[in-house]
Symmetry: C2
Subunit: 356 residues, 2 copies
Amino acid sequence: MKIAILPGDGIGPEIVAQAVNVLNVLGESFEMETAPVGGAGYAAHGHPLPEATLTLAKQADAILLGAVGDWKYDTLERALRPEQAILGLRKHLNLFANLRPAILYPELAGASTLKPEIVSGLDILIIRELTGDVYFGQPRGVRIATDGAFIGEREGFDTMRYAETEIRRIAHVAFQAAQKRDKRLTSVDKANVLETFQFWKDIVTEVHQEYPDVALDHMYIDNASMQLIRAPKKFDVIVTGNMFGDILSDAAAMLTGSIGMLPSASLDANNKGLYEPSHGSAPDIAGKGIANPLATILSAAMMLRFTLAKPEQADRIETAVKKVLAQGLRTPDIYEPGTTKVGTEEMGNAVVRALT
Amino acid sequence: MKIAILPGDGIGPEIVAQAVNVLNVLGESFEMETAPVGGAGYAAHGHPLPEATLTLAKQADAILLGAVGDWKYDTLERALRPEQAILGLRKHLNLFANLRPAILYPELAGASTLKPEIVSGLDILIIRELTGDVYFGQPRGVRIATDGAFIGEREGFDTMRYAETEIRRIAHVAFQAAQKRDKRLTSVDKANVLETFQFWKDIVTEVHQEYPDVALDHMYIDNASMQLIRAPKKFDVIVTGNMFGDILSDAAAMLTGSIGMLPSASLDANNKGLYEPSHGSAPDIAGKGIANPLATILSAAMMLRFTLAKPEQADRIETAVKKVLAQGLRTPDIYEPGTTKVGTEEMGNAVVRALT
Ligand SMILES: CC(C)[C@H](C(=O)O)[C@@H](O)C(=O)O
Ligand SMILES: CC(C)[C@H](C(=O)O)[C@@H](O)C(=O)O
């Protein structure tokens, strides 16, 4: 089995190195090949998603990505900026299902800005559609308005759209994920305003007929953003579109206060996937050896579970991570008085030790 | 000066009645005329925004609205549902600037789900553009896709768009509001993905040149939704589009834990405005006499300040509200042990007493 390793920018290379160490001690034989992406792709080949990197990603069975983005590249034209690599990988590989768990480890309850009773034991799964919506809809651009109240002047515009198949397939992923958990699914939309999301709601309701054991409810995005703050533990699985999912999944992650712990998976129809931490490239701490590698290590665990069909290896890694937390080891982002502050490498080594 | 009173549905009539009582004891001579809106409009005239209600709203100098929506009307076709009245009023009256303060009263700090040190003293102002964006852009609907990967099948679609004038005028409102506060403005966009919001960002940056005394920063919507949870007090004024503003303003309101306290204003280019509480119609508690009237009373205060040019009367009301809180009076939504639980009318009467 071949894994494409795309370290990317900022802290990406440091944290990915630790995840690779973990993969190497599992006793499996993975073929791993590394390629530059994001700012590193641009620096090496003049494009954030170089041809060779895309080819590798297509050939590989799974992709492990660090993070992309660095202030250095902020002045590039948009098509060359690091985040275009992420959008390109999603689109080219048809990675339409983004799974983002928001889990609060009991040891880290203090890290949240929310009161412990509101978030302790939090365990929700956000499923975000990743290849449709206003992210990719055509046409888009800047034009002279030819209708409406501002006819004749410049306007920026984009197209929000969801086709039936796109909604159906993400709904199936979500219902099936809910079946494996507490069997409750909340579909987040804005059906009271948007035609796209009235259509979304109608199709999700149809697909629900195939999953009578799952309780489905519909919630408007504005209300969902409130309920996540008011009573996040009431949710089990949330499914939503690309744009709303971008916002909600980051909010949910921040509820835990420990976004350095949260992995993510982006899957295609055959469970091939791209795995990456939920956090960003943190260029401000890059190279200092203090970044938290656990979200990336846990992303490797998700990869073993969803794409590489090695759930027992995934369990092993997750257990090892819990063990190092119980040992009191903490990178600075999750450090609290009374625990032991360690760097990226020490943390990675501790997970390796806990595994063997 | 003429005020249109639109009580609406659910708890709307109860809370508006208290705000009207407050307006009546100020010693000003306002002409007030009441008309049905939302479900009540549909029940009376077969449309959520009856002709006569719209005419009254246009004629009046200001509009005080309770809330719209009730489960009774959920099965109506979309064009007849209560919330269409809100969208219709905004569009017909050109109410493009929505001002939503998120303030945490020191007495109510315990109501928040966030830790006291994160939210105590919170005082941010969210300015949401209200008549553009994907809320109103044409074309929209359900059609057969004629391009893209799902050609030939049904798709729901909407158009996101912002014309230069629309961005410019809301930016001016936001910079001027920031000038009266801590002189810091955060413009929230998704310029890394959306053409509409790259254009938004460019225009806001241009308008900034006229306000060199205001510090402007730009933040992506996903990051903003995280930062609101991580460190909300770092914000002063936030300006954003209609869709992002819908989500962010509700999240910001919920940070306080006391959404029953938060007013809102929706203004046109001449400061004519519609004023309403930030919370909804709460049909579950309608008619029970327990709804919190303070957000509506504070909306009346905003009306005096922004539209009726009576800032000293606005101050009087706001001082009176603080006084009843200091007296320990609480409706059930903000009740805590050690305070005095009161109903809607008692709370309204207490504000009237504190005024006189
Ligand atoms: C970098 C950006 C294009 C991306 C997105 O908006 O999807 C990011 O925010 C994410 O959530 O992965
Ligand atoms: C009722 C609905 C159409 C409305 C909106 O989305 O604008 C509401 O959520 C609001 O924020 O006033």
